[in-house]
């Protein structure tokens, strides 16, 4: 007891010995026991991020008393973390380091008056212009929007939609993501449905993915301490996450979750160290090294130090990794800060896209600038199903590369078009291409993939309307590009050996049609289309025949909804059938198989039997026979089903397509002595050896209207299965963006 009483005196004595300016900058409770920085980007110490006010306001002699009282404090937890760190060091070092000059905090200054006005009440802005929490993290616009909504929900914040928009724009720009960082999580922002995170780190998946996508994690950059705060926040709001996080024990202090609880541990940590560290500990600190994770302070000081690497709970291991892989300051971000500018976007862009069940999309977007980083758009689109659509919208650029927009149909557009399409796109590093998704639907499940190519003034080739062609005479290849001069001639184009361009028709400077002859022995595979000195894309695939068809998505996903007057939306699903080629290895169903083109098919559902009385197919919903559009059944218990089951289930989606496909020439007979490699079979394309003699001279059906096939065609029926899971609704939608009506 006596030794504990002497601590305040000792520290006070030390303070008196120090020059006043050092004392002011380096309060006794902070900074002294800072662990070595884990990464350069991470503010190396907790102290750096801690608003100096927290510690300065607590005189040393009070700290001992307040050890257990910190609970009631507002939970940004920044000051508390110090206690834990100190806790692990021996007491002797404490005084020694207390005199070390304070390193400047490294964060992003907050200058926006609206953000300071609304956030500054709790998140103090220090003399260095850094705001607690906010200055030490970067996120995409979706992430900031969620934060703002949480502040409204839990802290009764009030601001107008206009202010909210302004704050999100400021934060997503100044505290946003660099291009590469935004790309990492783009799939999440695009609200894609068919993707998987199976290949991601398993610890990360087990810690975060049971509740939300990892994309939400990838869309953030934080300092080391900020990552720890994220964990605390989760444990405070969702206590059951502690088991997910691998936190095995709970705090004896009773408040294992949340910032407030930190103080209880902080108090205990001071046992080992004396009063200077009374304010509490960051549980995460201690946790990274042992199972005691969140109770670094409680378990006492010296034995628990630990950097944020390895050990600890699963969440701590994950956070340690994230601290390194997604730090507050990355090279790319720093580079962007230097080169930051508003990239000019105004002008015409060609749209190349695809929408499941509606086919290929071709068109243009005219972008015009209306304000800083704000644009108006006019989309003119033609769909593979024949519909022509004109849409008008607006968009905003965040942090130079991330586009968020929305569009509505123009007056002349048919009413069947979605009333609102949201756009998420990312600008390429060379500023000439946008890639992304436009979507709608209760779960954002209906959408189209789009690529926008800027019209730069020079000639460019973007895509072909006919993605694959078989040997034929006079086949047409429609090219989309820009800057095609008026004097184009067939000799200007080149598609490789075996393909002769016999004619060219120029419709306008963005569209030309090539008439080509494809020799029977032309080597199969992707062909690059070039124009004069312009090296175009690999826009066409030469194939000899269709080997099978494939249903995409192979794993469909749908949710029941909209029963009665219910408010729960349905999640729809769409399918399409792709003709496939066996590819270079001549084996079916392997990774090198080529997707040739979408083909018409008849659709139906079939039972995916799991047990003998499986009857899902009767209840889950209906699929349109021609379009492959699946509409799920209503939600709610169904009294007609066993146990009042919902209309959920597992079914097959079956596509059946009748196609006239070229007859594949017989494989060349093997030469008597198989000499290591066949002399010139190199590419191994099956159509080399005398393809004409294959006696199946069935009825010839033209491959396309203009083309004359030079290989006999045969009618074949193809069948393929996909899987469709129809499951229960979600009752909580974490993402609805009320404020981004731009």
């Amino acid at each position: 007891m006596a030794s504990r009483m002497s601590w305040p005196l000792l520290v006070l004595g030390l303070l008196l010995l120090l020059p006043m300016d050092v004392v002011a900058q380096n309060p006794p409770t902070g900074g002294s026991q800072t662990p070595p920085p884990t990464t350069q980007e991470t503010p190396p110490t907790t102290t750096q991020e801690t608003p100096p006010t927290t510690t300065q306001e607590t005189p040393p002699d009070r700290q001992e008393r307040s050890r257990g009282e910190g609970r009631g404090e507002r939970g940004d937890g920044q000051g508390r973390s110090r206690g834990g760190r100190r806790g692990r060091r021996g007491s002797g070092r404490g005084e020694q380091e207390a005199s070390a000059p304070k390193k400047p905090r490294k964060g992003i200054k907050v200058t926006d008056p609206v953000v300071i006005q609304h956030c500054g009440g709790c998140h103090k802005v220090g003399d260095d212009g850094l705001m607690s929490r906010v200055s030490f993290m970067r996120k995409g616009p979706e992430g900031w929007e969620m934060s703002l909504k949480r502040m409204i929900r839990h802290h009764d914040m009030k601001f107008s939609p206009e202010e909210a928009r302004q704050m999100i724009r400021y934060l997503a720009h100044q505290h946003g993501l660099a291009r590469g960082e935004a790309e990492r999580s783009l799939y999440d922002a695009e609200r894609r449905v068919h993707w998987s995170e199976e290949d991601k780190d398993q610890d990360l998946r087990r810690t975060c993915a049971p509740c939300h996508t990892l994309g939400r994690v990838f869309a953030q950059q934080r300092s080391g301490e900020e990552w720890q705060h994220l964990k605390k926040m989760h444990m405070a709001f969702f206590p059951n996450t502690s088991s997910q996080f691998g936190e095995r024990r709970r705090s004896r202090g009773g408040g294992d979750w949340g910032g407030g609880g930190g103080s209880t541990r902080g108090g205990s940590s001071t046992r080992g160290e004396g009063s200077t560290r009374g304010e509490g500990s960051t549980r995460g600190e201690g946790s990274t090294r042992g199972e005691g994770s969140t109770r670094g302070g409680r378990t006492g000081s010296s034995s628990r130090g630990g950097s944020s690497s390895g050990g600890g709970s699963r969440a701590d291991r994950v956070l340690a990794a994230l601290t390194k892989s997604q730090p507050l300051f990355s090279e790319e971000w720093e580079a962007w800060q230097i080169h930051e500018r508003e990239v000019p976007l105004a002008g015409f862009w060609t749209v190349i896209g695809h929408e499941v069940s509606r086919g290929e999309i071709r068109g243009t977007v005219e972008i015009s600038r209306t304000d800083q980083e704000t644009y108006a758009t006019v989309w003119t689109l033609e769909f593979g199903d024949g519909s022509r659509v004109r849409r008008e919208g607006r968009g905003v650029m965040y942090a130079g590369y991330s586009w968020r927009g929305r569009s509505r149909p123009a007056a002349e557009t048919p009413g069947t078009e979605p009333a609102e399409l949201r756009e998420v796109m990312l600008l390429s590093a060379d500023w000439n291409t946008f890639k992304g998704r436009c979507f709608h639907g209760g779960y954002s499940e209906l959408g189209m993939d789009v690529t926008l190519h800027r019209h730069t003034g020079s000639t460019q080739i973007f895509a072909s309307d006919e993605p694959a062609i078989a040997p034929a005479k006079g086949a047409e290849v429609v090219l989309r590009g820009t800057g095609f001069p008026a004097d184009v001639v067939s000799k200007d184009f080149h598609l490789g050996a075996g393909v002769t361009v016999t004619d060219v028709r120029r419709e306008n400077n963005t569209k030309v049609t090539l008439v080509v002859d494809i020799a029977k022995d032309a080597k199969l595979g992707k062909r690059r289309i070039s124009f004069r000195a312009i090296r175009g894309p690999e826009a066409v695939t030469l194939y000899d025949t269709v080997d099978y068809i494939k249903v995409t998505p192979g794993e469909g996903f749908s949710r029941i909804g909209k029963g009665g007057k219910g408010k729960i939306p349905k999640q729809y699903e769409r399918f399409e059938a792709w003709a496939m080629h066996r590819g270079p290895d001549k084996k079916l169903y392997t990774a090198d198989n080529w997707q040739i083109k979408v083909v018409d098919a008849k659709w139906r559902l079939d039972e995916f039997s799991i047990h003998e009385y499986d009857d899902d197919v009767k209840y889950v919903g209906e699929i349109d026979e021609d379009t492959g559009f699946f509409t799920p059944a209503i939600d709610g218990p169904n009294p007609k089903r066993r146990w009042n089951a919902n209309n959920i289930g597992n079914v097959y989606v079956v596509a059946e397509a009748k196609l006239a496909v070229p007859v594949r020439p017989p494989e060349p007979k093997k030469v008597e002595k198989p000499k290591a490699d066949a002399p010139e079979g190199g590419g191994g394309d099956g159509n080399q050896g005398g393809g004409n003699g294959n006696g199946n001279g069935g009825p010839s059906v033209a491959v396309s209207a203009a083309a004359v096939p030079i290989v006999a065609l045969e009618d074949k029926v193809f069948k393929a299965h996909g899987h469709l899971l129809v499951t229960v609704p979600l009752y909580v939608m974490w993402e609805r963006y009320d404020w981004d009506h731009r």
Binding site: G636, N646, N650, W734
Partner: protein, 106 residues
């Protein structure tokens, strides 16, 4: 098994069929679970441990409030603890009043 091989035509034919079926089955039985971006694909809520729906609560409404009160599926069902304390107000018994169940936008 790799030492066994088909020696006559019939055996080869059977082998071919088996291989073909196995490939088809592989495509179906090794699903690459889709994850929704606005959604999760969480075993236990959307799917059972085998990737199907037969192991889910039947009907889901029977178990809804348990998930709600204990915050068991915080991303799928509103939680009573912090985010949506009044979610269940409009619907006393979801098995009967399921159409009144609200959709929450936190």
């Amino acid at each position: 098994m790799k030492h066994l091989f088909a020696v006559n035509q019939k055996a080869r034919m059977i082998e071919g069929i088996v291989i073909q079926k196995a490939q088809q089955a592989h495509a179906m039985m090794a699903p690459d679970p889709p994850f929704g971006c606005t959604t999760m694909f969480s075993p236990g809520w959307e799917v059972d441990s085998s990737g199907g729906t037969h192991g889910l609560c039947t009907p889901i409404e029977r178990d809804l409030y348990d998930c709600y009160h204990t915050c068991y599926w915080p991303a799928q069902v509103p939680d009573a603890l912090t985010n949506s304390p009044n979610w269940a107000k409009s619907c006393g018994a979801p098995v009967n009043d399921w159409a009144s169940i609200d959709l929450v936008f936190p």
